[in-house]
């Protein structure tokens, strides 16, 4: 038996050496816990705080004696963004103990002075032989990130509005010239003016997308629930995209029940969702391809699907298709225009309406996107894309999400 084997086999150590190792390991763990740059709290299996580091104390404004021995959820009170106390069942602490897995959340913790602080917290259960023996919570103050994100959204929103003012003048005057306000124009001048109008429309669409993204991210999507006739809406979006459909010789099929399908939703948001899906289907279809819109009413929901016989989404790109700025690999090779914001926006808007989106796609055969919307809109707590929850209490008929 060589020396290494003796050292690596704890069972072969004398009791004194085992105790010495345990003391050293404890000291190491203690030093590690105290030197973590984030707030760290340890609890026993009942959730009583056994340890809290100085960063956590500084962030929360507590003294060690305020926390030690007390029940974690009572000391660390968590709130949603709108100021509503998080239900016990939704807390990362509860979820970590229930699932036995680490849970990461973005919530607001209450400080000792009653002010709220946005944090990103990860709570990991400590499990020994399948039995929970405690938990470790690590959290970080994200006020600065939150503020920067809000400033970025405000900036995009302001810049977009400012961009639209000169654009309004370009569009209005181009139309006035086309309509002969300033005298007759030649066919060549007419063609050039139409190009200006079409380019300003494209610019306007881009600004609209940016504005909508900034609204979703800042929690400023206003939902005004009204009765929306999906049969009419389908006709309307087909009319709006008529030119693109005709130019690409797309065979468009609309399958909807004869009896109007009416849901309670926001007309503009629903339209924006469907326009995005239909224009994608047309854009990525080959000349003469088939595009089908289907409206299927269910008991408490409606499923709208938009399918095409186009490029399809490669399997490797599928998990990221709703990610901001992501564009599928086969699309990037063919199209240089496009922002990678369309489906990200669609998903955000569907979330705002309390719906769901999913898809089936085979590369080079086509895609079908399914949207399930509730028949009755229920104002609900919704996660915004930065993970913080938002709840508007100012307006009963319209809801900010």
């Amino acid at each position: 038996m060589n020396d290494d084997a003796i050292i690596n086999d704890p069972l072969s150590l004398s009791p004194d050496t085992t105790l010495q190792s345990a003391v050293e390991a404890y000291a190491q763990a203690e030093a590690l816990f105290n030197s973590i740059g984030d707030g760290a709290i340890a609890t026993d299996e009942f959730g009583h705080i056994t340890k809290i580091n100085h960063v956590a104390l500084d962030l929360l404004g507590y003294k060690e004696s305020d926390a030690l021995g007390r029940w974690f959820p009572r000391v660390i009170v968590a709130f949603e963004e709108g100021g509503e106390k998080l239900d016990m069942i939704d807390r990362g602490f509860t979820q970590a103990f229930l699932t036995g897995k680490p849970v990461t959340q973005k919530v607001w913790y209450r400080r000792k002075d009653d002010t709220l602080m946005p944090v990103s917290s990860t709570i990991s259960p400590l499990v020994l032989s399948g039995r929970p023996i405690g938990a470790i919570a690590i959290f970080r103050d994200i006020s600065r990130e939150y503020e920067i994100d809000r400033m970025k959204s405000d900036f995009i929103s302001l810049a977009s509005h400012q961009l639209r003012t000169p654009l309004s003048a370009i569009k209005t005057y181009s139309h006035m010239l086309l309509d002969g306000f300033m005298g007759p124009i030649s066919p060549t001048q007419k063609k050039s003016l139409k190009t200006i109008v079409s380019a300003s429309n494209r610019m306007n669409e881009l600004i609209s997308t940016l504005l909508n993204v900034s609204r979703i991210e800042s929690g400023n999507v206003i939902v005004s629930p009204k009765n929306v006739n999906l049969n009419h809406l389908a006709d309307e979006i087909v009319r709006e995209l008529h030119l693109a459909i005709k130019t690409k010789h797309i065979n468009l099929h609309v399958h909807a029940p004869k009896k109007p399908v009416i849901i309670q939703a926001d007309n503009l948001i629903t339209k924006e969702i469907l326009i995005n899906l239909l224009s994608n289907a047309v854009k990525y279809s080959p000349d003469g391809g088939d595009v089908t819109i289907t409206v299927q009413p269910r008991k408490s929901t409606v499923i709208i699907s938009v399918s095409d016989t186009g490029l399809g989404i490669p399997k490797a790109s599928q998990p990221q298709i709703f990610t901001k700025f992501y564009r599928a690999s086969n699309v990037v090779r063919r199209e240089t225009t496009g922002t990678g914001l369309g489906l990200y926006l669609v998903k955000g808007l569907i979330d705002a309406l309390g719906g769901k989106i999913w898809f089936e796609s085979i590369e080079n055969h086509g895609s079908t996107f399914y949207v399930r919307l509730p028949r009755t809109y229920t104002a609900k707590k919704t996660n915004t894309t930065n993970g913080l929850t938002s709840l508007d209490k100012h307006n009963s008929s319209s809801r900010k999400l």
Partner: protein, 131 residues
Amino acid sequence: MAKVLIVEDDKDLNQAYQMILKRDGHEVFAAHNGKEALKEAQAHTPQLILLDLLMPIMDGLEFLKKYDLAKQKDVKVLIFTNMENSPEVNEAYKLGAHRCIIKSWTAPQNLSHVVREALQDNPKAASVKGA
């Protein structure tokens, strides 16, 4: 036709809207901020006001509060803005605005159309039209 007050701080757009509505036969007055609009509205009692929201000196929402639509007779306010679906638009509706139109999406024929439509169920405008 009708008396229309255009409240828009962008001089080019203000000018364009004046040209379009004058061609449609309306009597048109112009203001470039809420303060000027209050004076013009008092002096000419328009049946329709095209109101921008973001303006210097006095913005559109402040104008709506001061003008107090509830106390005015037979006047409609069309919000002309680029702030679609924003809290400001929601506020304007609460203050009595009739409709909200996105400027950058509006071609001259749409402007003529929304103005005509808004005036259709305005009895005072109809009598002016009939006269």
